[in-house]
């Protein structure tokens, strides 16, 4: 096989085909047709499609590489401290992501998991998030513990009224300037607020792994 060029290439090709079909293809077969889960009791299906503005915000999140420091995948309550930290009551499942254009699972937890950050209690309002993204200061703290993203904001003169979403306390009133979130910042904020997968799918119920079969509840 090593000497005969033809069989050598057949071997190489076989390695590729086997590797490709054993993971990408098989996974696709298993998950490619995953549908939302219809709940008779609530007469609606889950997950719901994210609003367009949040879907665009996900692209901003992806572009800025927030996933370099944040995961969006909650692990099982008995595997790590995810639940205890309030990142989610149940583990994330494949169905959570079916409507996401670019799921941002992430591989690094330099910062907290954000899979359910929009649903956290008490929630941070849009103005608070804007303040945080601009300054890098997490609410309740004084130090800059986060990379700031000042380029997501416009520093522009006030024409007429001060914009409703202008950041407060950053510029002198008399300077007649204001710092306002750009369109990208607004979509990113909407995205962060939309992050919430609270619905309990049958496959996400930790106690009964047998029920995890696809479509068990049809």
């Amino acid at each position: 096989m090593m000497k005969n060029g033809f069989f050598f290439f057949i071997g190489l090709l076989a390695a590729f085909v086997l590797g490709w079909s054993s993971i990408p293809l098989l996974a696709h077969k298993q998950l490619g047709a995953l549908t939302p889960f219809y709940d008779d009791g609530e007469s609606s299906s889950f997950p719901t499609r994210p609003p367009g503005v949040a879907a665009r915000g996900q692209l901003v999140y992806a572009d800025l590489g927030c996933a370099a420091c944040h995961t969006q995948q909650v692990r099982r309550p008995d595997f790590g401290s995810d639940k205890a930290r309030g990142w989610g009551d149940r583990q994330s499942v494949a169905r959570d992501y079916i409507f996401q254009v670019r799921p941002q699972l992430g591989e690094s937890r330099i910062g907290p998991d954000l899979a359910n950050w929009g649903g956290r209690k008490p929630p941070v309002d849009a103005a608070g998030i804007a303040q945080f993204l601009h300054s890098g200061v997490v609410s309740g703290s004084k130090a800059v513990s986060h990379p700031p993203f000042p380029f997501l904001f416009d520093d522009r003169p006030v024409v007429g009224e001060v914009a409703a979403d202008a950041l407060v306390g950053l510029v002198e009133k008399s300077s007649r300037r204001q710092i306002v979130p750009t369109e990208r910042a607004r979509t990113l904020i909407a995205y962060l607020q939309s992050l919430n997968n609270a619905y309990e799918y049958p496959e996400a119920r930790h106690v009964a792994p047998a029920a995890a079969k696809e479509g068990a509840h049809k």
Partner: protein
């Protein structure tokens, strides 16, 4: 120890086929320096979050992507291809064919990388690990790669020798397989994207395949060629080499799912990865047996290759150990994973490539490296740098992992505790950057000697192997 290199003469094939190879190696080293600058910025941002934060191009997520892309597609690809073409040309027994294709392919490959890096910096990155280069340069990369690869494939299929060698298998496998991987990943992730978590699953498969089926084979091709040449001895346990080769190819790419332990994916993916991680250890054992002669030899090339070999083995063992759920509970999502990645890409693959480059260049230009002290400094800086880089990341990762498990500990405390180690990582990046600037300058000055001194050494004018190697210590 250079006296052992008895086969160090320059062959006709070297002289006639050197330009594509030199171009590839020079491009690789150039990108290595650039990637070092990006990596330094990214590492400083981990302990000083405001560093360059006002500059959108270099926000942490983007500059990390730039560093990774430049390292893999700039440095490793160019250097690895250069070594692969050189090895295939030499072992094929005739002058490298399709040289123009290789040169044009290299120029377009690097053009594609340059445009792509600009795209990442300005917001066009795809956000897939190791596939960050924007969609619009991806087709160009495939075509350019094939143009480069043709030269090597022709050298293999037109070889004049009866038998074949392990370095040829690895080189041909890397040349042949990468376009398939890239096209498969592009199709499923960029052209007609799959949905939901299939994206990270397929991206994880691609990342692992890039390492197992492309970069590692490129690096091994050079090592399998250089070690017997330098030691002057046949490789021990060589009869197992074919099996080890096929093990890597068939099992290697299944190990990638270890990063998805506990994630929202079918459980068989990490389970399969765990089994594969242990199976593939067979490949590593055989490589260690085959190349163990490097450990007892001296000289610059062998020192780099030994280091690379040990890192290659250590990386495989760590991958296997951390593919268990119980261990991943601590190491997953932490700097420890980064440490493992750096151990593989820098400690193993890059060091093996350096070893091959130190071996190849004198034979390509017919004269030794121009500065011995630069060579020695580079050697010390890279070894110390990698130790410090991987070691500090690993310690930081273990601290981070234990803090993460403890739900009471805050991210502020975690940053506080890991900070000294992250500072050490930045120091390591500085050392590595200096070392890489030295090797780039040394390389360019040595190659310039071909024109500047006016005396282009021809075949035969240079038959004293001792002058080829830079002396150890």
């Amino acid at each position: 120890m250079s006296s052992t290199s008895t086969h160090a003469e320059v062959t006709a094939a070297d002289t006639a086929g050197r330009w594509p190879v030199l171009l590839l190696l020079a491009s690789g080293l150039g990108w290595l320096v650039i990637s070092g600058i990006f990596a330094l910025i990214a590492s400083i941002q981990l302990h000083s979050p405001t560093f360059m934060s006002a500059c959108e191009w270099f926000t942490h997520g983007r500059v990390s992507a730039l560093a990774e892309t430049t390292f893999v597609y700039g440095w490793s690809a160019n250097a690895g291809l250069g070594i692969a073409l050189w090895v295939l040309g030499r072992l094929g027994g005739s002058t490298l064919r399709a040289q123009n294709w290789a040169v044009i392919g290299t120029l377009f490959w690097n053009l594609g990388i340059t445009i792509g890096l600009g795209g990442i910096a300005t917001g066009d990155a795809t956000s897939f690990a190791l596939l960050e280069l924007p969609r619009y340069v991806q087709p160009l990369l495939v075509v350019a790669y094939i143009a480069i690869g043709i030269s090597g494939i022709l050298a293999w299929s037109g070889r004049r020798t009866e038998g074949t060698y392990a370095s040829q298998w690895y080189a041909v496998a890397a040349l042949f397989l990468f376009p398939w991987l890239l096209i498969a990943a592009q199709t499923m992730l960029l052209w007609s994207p799959v949905r939901g978590v299939l994206q990270p699953i397929i991206d994880g498969w691609y990342v692992q395949s890039v390492v197992s089926l492309w970069l590692a084979p490129l690096a091994l091709a050079g090592a399998y060629y250089a070690v017997p040449k330098i030691t002057g001895r046949a490789l021990p346990s060589y009869e197992f080499a074919p099996l080890a080769f096929w093990t890597l190819l068939f099992v290697g790419m299944m190990t990638g799912g270890r990063h998805l332990i506990g994630g929202p994916v079918p459980a068989w993916i990490p389970t399969l990865a765990n089994a594969a991680c242990w199976m593939v250890l067979f490949h590593f054992t055989v490589v260690a047996l085959n190349l163990r002669g490097a450990l007892t030899g001296g000289g610059t090339s062998l020192t780099f290759i030994s280091f690379g070999l040990l890192a290659y083995l250590a990386g495989a063992v760590l991958d296997a150990v951390t593919s268990f759920r119980g261990v991943a509970l601590v190491t997953q999502f932490t700097y420890f994973t980064t440490a493992q990645q750096q151990l593989a890409l820098y400690g193993a693959i890059s060091m093996l490539l350096f070893g091959s480059i130190y071996f190849a260049l004198p034979r390509l230009i017919g004269r030794p490296w121009i500065s011995g002290s630069f060579v020695r400094s580079h050697r010390v800086l890279s070894m110390v740098g990698i130790f410090l880089l991987v070691g500090s990341l690993a310690v930081a990762g273990l601290i981070q992992g234990t803090e993460l498990i403890n739900a009471k500990s805050t991210f502020g405390e975690m940053a506080e505790r890991t900070r000294p180690w992250l500072l050490a990582v930045s120091v390591a990046q500085v050392l590595l950057l200096i070392g890489n600037i030295l090797v780039l300058v040394n390389f360019l000055r040595s190659v310039c000697g071909l024109w500047c001194s006016g005396v282009v050494s021809e075949v035969g004018s240079f038959r004293q192997p001792t002058t080829m190697e830079v002396h150890a210590s």
